[in-house]
Subunit: 461 residues, 2 copies
């Protein structure tokens, strides 16, 4: 069954690239209302493309951008799990435009560092990745007239703007969306050429506070000395967040954190993750996280407390002798294991409030959400089947890898639809997603399509 599908994928690659190029031309920036029509257009494009393969696809309105949903026929001889594939058709904004080598919505196939790439906004995140799956389905249908198992699609147009409509939509359409396993193609490979299934994702907690001291900005000649300075105080508070070993010093922060099991650790260490390369990409010579943990564990399996924004006082040219009335801090925590965002938020806030001196007041932003970490259910037989299928395609053992980032959708499938999710992606670390000159390797696209054909065969078999 599989070989003719793979052959079809190879021969159809130029057309598959044309389709991706057409899709990338649509300026589906979801955060900017000026692009609302373009987001609609991308949804329509997907509906039409899925219909051309033979899927009954529909565009469903939400309070924000539409969902595209399609259901395939179950095969004549029902076999394998019912799969729900998720991807997103919206893209990040393109600023700063002047840093792009060419129009981000005029995608081009180029050669760079000896490999072919397609460059344009969304090439990797997520239009290129989602199309690897769509093209695999197209080849199956072209060769065999049907897919080897039952399949549904859910494409979202708000992922880059926080997915406000997603959970309500899933809740309202639970029956239609419920399947046996979700597939998500929105992740990277551990290293170039190393096929990877994400086995765990970190969660995230966001918070923000304003520290208020004097009643108004003061003159540092007149009040310097007696006045409390919120910039000095916020620095003291931030420096209390970690001890000298790099461990977060908030009481109870690690209560629900467990060490990585030895077996997982062995897998990760054999995954091909290149520590020196990873650090050098960021201009670093060594890891700066918790002492006693490797770079890889610091990134995938340890929680963090990071300051993302800090400001107060005068930022212009020259000097202003001001003691400002307030200072501001934005922070995020990456969460692992069973850490509960609400619990960590309250511990963090208690830590900060315990540091306040007289004449200081604090205001917290109340509107920030959080998501717990996700650990994939890799004991399900589909994971090992997929791993072997990926290993066959890439001629290299596929790995279960951790991930430092947060993909809340995986958790939503579990909590709203009680479904496990499997995350397989073919992006590379140098794809510059969210940045100027985003690209996707043609190798990722071609072998990605072939990978999904193999995974479908393996899960159906």
């Amino acid at each position: 069954m599989l070989d003719p599908v793979l052959a079809r994928i190879d021969s159809d690659l130029p057309q598959a690239l044309d389709r991706l190029t057409e899709f990338l031309r649509i300026q589906s920036i979801s955060t900017d209302p000026a692009y609302k029509d373009e987001v609609e257009k991308a949804a329509d494009w997907l509906v039409a493309d899925l219909a051309s393969i033979g899927f009954a696809a529909e565009k469903h309105d939400t309070p924000g951008h539409p969902m595209v949903v399609a259901h395939g026929q179950a095969p004549d001889e029902a076999s394998g799990p019912h799969l729900l594939f998720y991807g997103h058709y919206d893209v990040q904004p393109v600023d700063p435009l002047e840093l792009w080598d060419h129009d981000p919505f005029d995608p081009r196939i180029e050669e760079r560092d000896g490999k072919k790439i397609i460059r344009g906004r969304g090439a990797s995140d997520d239009k290129g990745q989602l199309m690897t799956f769509v093209e695999a389905c197209r080849a199956w249908k072209a060769v065999h007239g049907s897919l080897p198992l039952q399949l549904s699609f859910l494409f979202e147009g708000e992922e880059e703007s926080g997915s406000p409509s997603l959970v309500p939509y899933m809740e309202e359409n639970a029956n239609a969306l419920k399947a046996d396993l979700a597939l998500i193609c929105d992740t990277s490979m551990v290293a170039p050429g190393v096929p990877s299934i994400a086995s765990q994702l970190r969660g995230m907690l966001k918070d923000e506070f304003t520290l208020k001291g004097p009643a108004m900005d003061l003159h540092s000649g007149h009040y310097g000395g007696p006045a409390i300075n919120p910039l000095r105080e916020i620095s003291r508070i931030i420096s209390s967040f970690h001890d000298v070993t790099g461990r977060v010093a908030v009481e109870g922060f690690y209560d629900d954190v467990e060490e990585v099991p030895a077996e997982i650790l062995r897998q990760w260490e054999a995954s091909g993750f290149d520590e020196a390369d990873y650090l050098a990409n960021a201009g670093l010579t060594r890891p700066h996280g918790e002492e006693g943990y490797s770079t890889l564990i610091q990134q995938w399996a340890r929680p963090t407390l990071e300051i993302n924004g800090l400001w107060g006082g005068y930022q212009g040219a020259g000097t202003k002798t001001v003691i400002p009335a307030e200072a501001h801090c934005k922070l995020t925590c990456r969460l692992v294991g069973a850490m509960d965002p609400a619990d960590i938020r309250s511990k963090l806030r208690a830590h900060v409030e315990a540091q306040l001196k007289p004449d200081l007041e604090i205001e917290w932003d109340m509107d920030l959400d959080g998501s717990a970490a996700s650990v994939m259910n890799t004991d399900r037989p589909e994971f090992e089947k997929a791993r072997l299928a990926l290993s066959d395609e890439w001629n290299r053992e596929a790995v279960f890898s951790g991930m430092g980032g947060s993909i809340p959708i995986a958790g939503h499938f579990k909590t709203v639809l009680d479904m496990d999710a499997m995350l397989i992606g073919f992006a590379n670390e140098d794809d510059r997603i969210h940045s100027p000159n985003e690209k996707y390797d043609l190798d990722s696209y071609h072998k990605g399509i072939r990978s999904w054909a193999r995974v479908l065969a393996a899960l159906a078999g």
Copy 2:
């Protein structure tokens, strides 16, 4: 000699207020090139006003705004020191304009909290204050036809933009400017109704640095943990500047700092400084400086290290999961005693650089200047004569007070012209200088003019 002069001042007060009002209408904002003609106009106004009293005043060009210089005739019977009076005719910008009760350049006499004030930009800083001296001279000339001692005037138009032309001008015109004692009217009274001679001013050191970590902004999912975060690092560095008692922890910072002599301290404590009022004006309930020092000493006689600006990462709405490539800090130190700005700068920089971890780099701003503290030579007989003259006018013992701010001109008179300076001012803490709704009390103006008449008589006598 004095009584008819005081009587003349009283009877001429309405005209003196008219002259001040006219002077305040000129929009002599020195920092904004758009107001260049207005600054010229203020200089011309002063030349004409001094000429109307009988002084040969001239406007002298500089690379920036002009100096106004005038020399009075020595009295027939030469007596007393040759005095050089300094003031500045430029004013601060008026933003934010919407916070003014009326046009800042349409000065009005109003009643507020039971006292009469004149409200407008420059009413206190420094047009109102400098006119107290000019009006005293006018009354002397009107009554006696001449002044009781030899007098010169130096009016600057760049004080609010850092006085770039002042020292070069003083150096080039040293012979013409040299006198026995400089008088400066640009300071406040310790408390309302308490006539004050500033006996010491703090100096200032400015510095600014950028802390650089990763080669570019990083994603906190991808790099959170292993990456060094410049916001966390700059907070750690800033929090190392002070120990838990509020003392600056930079090695050698206090090497040239001495305790306030007991006699000076007794004077200060009797000066009428109202600690609770001073703190409450800033919304504070207690002093936050070095433990073991009173609010007044913290403000007047102890050095500080203040953060005036701090920023890095994302400052917009919502969250951005960024680990920024760099962080920025602006700081100033107030200096006392013999502290040398260059020495303190090198100690401060050494302190910061000793805190740097691997993968951090620092860039210092190289263009920032500093000025040492000034201690007035209160042993000169003129100080005690002036103090008694002020006490007579205000019916309250005049005090020698410290000052937390920095007035570099006092140091320039010493270093460039080898002249002592005496600072007497009639401003009040609530004059809102540099802020919207600047005002000057009519009491400050009237009794200020009378005070100078008495001081001139005392110094001549």
